[in-house]
């Protein structure tokens, strides 16, 4: 009897853990099932209409869509360790471009940081701001991404008109854009941050990476897509 109880307890714990591990990929498979519906939605031209910041050549055949939050520690890991390698190998060489979708799930500081990043994007400095924010990431909702701090971070970007940036941030210009992008990610059932969709720029041939996957994973998927072009 005791052995059965013990086995039941361990089996339950095991199933819960297995479920938690597999849930992100399951959710993204659901997205895959809706692929025909989502193709147009996920094309680069449609994404640009949603105001997403673009890195790399607009004419690249492959697009990486990053769903992330500036307060997410794994997103910071991707930004610091993996994105520079992808950027150097594929984006700067014109093979791939990358867009960023705000998936602000972590609370109020995430929204403020996202709005500030969009203000930097107005001046073509989104990716500089992206690097600075992830480099200076603090504890969740501790106030590290307060408006005052974000304005200080903006001072570190050479060539940024801080006056314009501050006015933009104070006006809350991009509050609805950030909300819309969160709704977009939610509609795609993005299960985790960061999450990536690697696709042909017309929104077809999608692959998913739900998490801060290491560089070899990106390399494998991108090379596969490049080889079948």
């Amino acid at each position: 009897m005791r052995k059965i109880t013990l086995l039941t307890i361990f089996a339950t714990i095991g199933l819960v853990i297995l479920g938690a591990t597999l849930l992100p990929s399951y959710n993204l498979r659901q997205v895959a099932a809706q692929q025909s519906v989502s193709n147009a939605q996920l094309s680069l031209s449609m994404l640009k209409q949603k105001g997403v910041p673009l890195l790399g050549s607009p004419s690249a055949h492959i697009t990486i869509i990053e769903f992330a939050d500036f307060q997410c520690p794994f997103c910071a890991r991707f930004a610091k360790d993996i994105q520079p390698q992808v950027n150097q190998t594929y984006i700067q060489t014109g093979k791939v471009n990358m867009v960023y979708v705000h998936f602000t799930k972590f609370g109020p500081d995430s929204v403020t940081a996202a709005m500030a990043a969009q203000c930097a994007n107005d001046q073509g400095k989104f990716w500089n701001f992206y690097n600075i924010l992830f480099k200076n990431q603090g504890a969740e909702n501790s106030g590290w991404a307060s408006k005052d701090n974000l304005k200080k971070f903006a001072l570190q970007i050479p060539g940024l008109d801080t006056q314009k940036f501050n006015t933009c941030l104070d006006s809350g210009k991009y509050a609805s854009l950030v909300q819309n992008q969160l709704a977009f990610g939610t509609s795609l059932k993005v299960p985790t941050t960061p999450a990536f969709i690697i696709e042909k720029s017309d929104g077809s041939n999608l692959d998913y990476l739900p998490g801060a996957y290491p560089y070899p994973a990106f390399q494998a998927l991108i090379d596969k897509k490049l080889s079948i072009q």
């Binding site: 052995k3 853990i17 591990t21 997410c72 890991r77 290491p214 494998a220």
Partner: protein, 190 residues
Amino acid sequence: MRLVTSLKTTIPFAFNVVFSNPVYIGIAIAVFSIFWIIFNVFDQLLFFSPVVTFYLPEDAVTGFIITNVTSVLMGILVAMNVYVIRNSKIKLDRSLFSGSILGIVSSACPGCSSFGFLAISTFGGFGIIATDFLTNYQTALRLASIAILLWALYSVHNKITKSCIFTTLPSDKRQSKTATSSDSAAPAAS
């Protein structure tokens, strides 16, 4: 001080008793492996697709060391608890579960995961506070989990070594009966 001196002999003794049987070494290795995989998948260090990859970025080193210690302790503890269950009528130690559950809950970034998203969506502000707490105090919680597991280890080693004392020293039992009634009741109950 006296406790430390006695632990120096009783812990190796308990280990010898349990791990002299290769079955328990096997259980310990299996449990360690399962938890090592789980922790590293949650920590986004180990990936199985599209290519099997393990990588250890700078920000994850501390967490990786702590989860390794937790996995080792889990392996030892589960094996020792299985030994106790099979060889006596003593109940399983609750601290094993609390330590392992805390270890799992505090692993990885709760706010980044589906569970975190679910908590935030379901409980709104409270969900954010809960995931903030788990993320911001992750290292402290993991250390607390190790402390609980160490307590569980102490507790299970006590059960293994105490059961030997009872069977070997009947004269001590008589002596203990002459002591206070509560003192004499305690060993009889255990």
